[in-house]
Point group: C2
Chain length 455, copies 2
């Protein structure tokens, strides 16, 4: 392995330049004006796969292209592993909170700041580079590798969900590896064994047919903004519990073993509070913050819109009010079932003075993999060597909905080997990626294949 790890160390400067080039493409999948940038991003990573020595195809879809890259000379006697990543990124708004432009990567010490650099460009790039190291060092990989890099992860992976069942045979694999999760610190590499699911929707309340003068009419009709506040306000109680009948019915309780494992992860409530920048923490009573954010479901308002938001005041009863909401779900909650329960509760609680409209967004199943399986144990060994530290077992609060689809269509379990640090600000202004994590991630990836191939 020395020559492979040596290759990675010797070429680090080039890899960082490549990371910056990739992160400079504003591939925001939620915003239609960036369609061209998504195409450029797909083309960029396809070229990078080819230069690594991979056989690469850019597949057209109804949405953004899907890039498939394979190690050459497929050997049917060896196991095949699939590495998944996404080249699309979250919107960068609000721009004014970035200390440098989100799509002009800026290096500060051992960090690179840019939208998407951590989520997820840097993390799948590390795997591609590690494979290049194997191929350019003239060593024979103990397995076949397939890279699947898509461009709609941040908006629900619609194209990939159509692609997967059709291409299932060609994507057959012994396991999937995804690096799109986090680690507590560089000294605590982690295997993430559980993920939260997600269900997104928009709620809109329509009142009067137009904004009305709040002096002339106010008092004689309901205010849709007030109705929305009262409706949403009822959805969470003072103990942080979601007020929806049946919401917790399918939640798998945390075992004593799991709570003990989670407690191994270093945590300071004061540091965490200061890191978030909140006056005081808040979460479901009876659970630690780590449990609240990874093993418990939520009802999160992502955005509120109503009436006049400009300079000064406008004395109106607004015609409508709306909110974007995402529910984070945990094993074994079903997005469809939960959305239905929430819908029923909203309809029940909504007053007759406004018209309720719900618009469903994307959903994703929660996920749980057995951390004592031989594949998981192999991954833990690679992490130990790649980072030089004893790994921890984690539940992740974020969603990687595609994991459930891999299980369904490829009948493959997924190993989640993240490289993101807690202060990487994914989905936030000033997203960054640690170049130490990038390097350790490359090493782990290079070391992973022999471990998995014998597992």
């Amino acid at each position: 392995m020395d020559s492979i790890l040596g290759y990675l160390a010797a070429n680090e400067a080039r890899f960082v330049d490549e990371l910056c080039a990739y992160a400079s493409i504003p591939s925001v999948s939620a915003q239609s004006q960036h369609a061209g940038d998504l195409r450029s991003s797909a083309d960029w990573i396809a070229r990078r796969c080819r230069s690594a020595g991979l056989v690469t195809v850019v597949h057209e879809t109804k949405g953004n292209p899907i890039v498939i890259a394979r190690t050459p000379n497929h050997d049917p006697k060896k196991p095949t592993f699939l590495v998944y990543g996404h080249y699309d990124v979250q919107p960068a708004e609000p721009f004014e909170l970035w200390t440098s432009p989100p799509f002009q990567p800026r290096r500060v010490g051992r960090d690179v700041f840019a939208r998407g650099v951590s989520d997820n460009k840097g993390q799948h790039l590390a795997h591609i580079i590690a494979t290049e190291a194997w191929l350019k060092s003239g060593k024979t990989l103990p397995c076949n590798l397939t890279f699947l890099i898509e461009g709609e992860e941040e908006v629900g992976s619609t194209a990939l969900y159509e692609f997967l069942p059709v291409q299932a045979a060609k994507l057959a694999c012994a396991a999937v590896v995804i690096s799109d999760s986090g680690i507590p610190s560089l000294k605590h590499p982690a295997l993430t064994y559980a993920l939260r699911g997600i269900a997104a929707f928009e709620i809109r309340l329509d009142g009067p047919s137009r904004d009305l003068h709040s002096g002339i009419y106010g008092g004689s009709l309901d205010n849709p903004a007030m109705a929305l506040c009262q409706l949403l306000g009822q959805m969470r109680d003072k103990k942080g519990r979601i007020n929806v009948p049946g919401y917790y019915d399918d939640v798998v309780k945390l075992s004593a073993y799991e709570r003990k494992q989670m407690a191994r992860v270093p945590f300071s409530e004061t540091k965490y509070r200061k890191f978030l920048g909140v006056p005081e923490l808040f979460g479901e009573v009876g659970f630690t913050p780590d449990e609240q954010r990874s093993a418990r479901p939520t009802f999160e308002i992502n955005g509120l819109t109503s009436g006049y938001q400009g300079e000064g005041s406008k004395t109106i009863v607004p015609a409508w009010a709306s909110a974007k909401v995402t529910l984070r779900l945990v094993p074994n909650q079903s997005p469809k079932k939960v959305i239905l329960a929430v819908k029923r509760q909203l309809q029940k609680l909504c007053p007759p003075t406004v018209k309720l409209t719900l618009k469903h967004g994307h959903g994703g199943e929660p996920y749980l993999v057995d951390p004592t399986s031989s594949l998981a144990q192999g991954a833990l060994r690679a992490l130990q060597k790649g980072f030089g530290h004893e790994p921890v077992l984690l539940r992740e609060g974020g969603s990687i909905p595609i994991v459930s689809a891999f299980k369904k269509h490829l009948r493959a379990e997924t190993l989640l080997l993240g490289m993101a640090l807690p202060d990487d600000n994914p989905h936030s202004p000033n997203e960054k990626f640690s170049l130490d994590a990038f390097a350790a991630g490359m090493r782990t990836s290079a070391l992973l294949w022999p471990e998995l191939a014998v597992a």
Copy 2:
């Protein structure tokens, strides 16, 4: 009076053209980019006053100019009346709901559609034109007239509040006449004897120092948008009562006489509901819709802002959430006292998981004038003749805060003789003004001065 009324009738086409020219100036006082338009609007109305034969001065202020126009040859033996109006207008947003551009006046039958055409350009222009009719007909007015047209009514009249005490001696008058209120129909001209006051503020709740990934962190901290919903949602109970201790302490109860007078105004709940376009009416239990919107105080959310409002979804815990709120107040509530009570309640109910900031906006006292006074009776006679119908007595839900300032600084009562119809959409898209109301308003104004001069 025949020659004066004849002059008004003969020149109506020109007056309508003038109204359209005036309403084409986008004099939006809430938006700083319109500073030049406010200046143009002041200059336009000053020129119009001069062409009517009035001695006109444009007074510079720290904000928008104040136009003062007087009838020539001041006679100290005659009473002086002051006519007040404002050349500034509400923002036109949301533009997409206008059927024609808000600052390109469009005539449809006997209506003109444009922002500000009813509130308040058309209404004070009617008075200036009526005075022109007196002056150009060679008749001697039985009184002196002073016109005061300001440009900050929609944003709190800051400049005028500084101007008034300084200029009080020069603005001395027996009474003030304002046409900035409504009438139930052309067959129901009205003297408005009471106004609601107003108190405006913005509330903002800050949570985390930046938008956070709702998967990674959601559940372990409060969501500022949820906190805002829960806080604001508590401010109004199910019976439509404002949940603020002391809020109703100073409210003057409606007398049986007043409730009877208000019931004289034609009202159909079904028609009103359909006109507003709401599925169902809502208001404080125990009061009619007319009472709710004119004689009872409110807590109105004018705008909500939080998190991501763009296309698609963004899975964040937003860093902050804010709301614009106006309270409509009734005699004898004090804006300062009420704001203090609301502030105390918000501070008491706000959870420690977010930081509360309140930003005070403008305030205006409610108003009540005795409808049996001789001045009021004179106004009722002019309305009867000008519109050709028996006038009604009204309370108005909107605020004209300057009325209290006239009482304080000029020691003068105000007569409110509105010309706006219920479907004029002031502060809403597709604001309009009825040319029949415009004409009847001019006639009433011409007839008013002999009635008031003998009162």
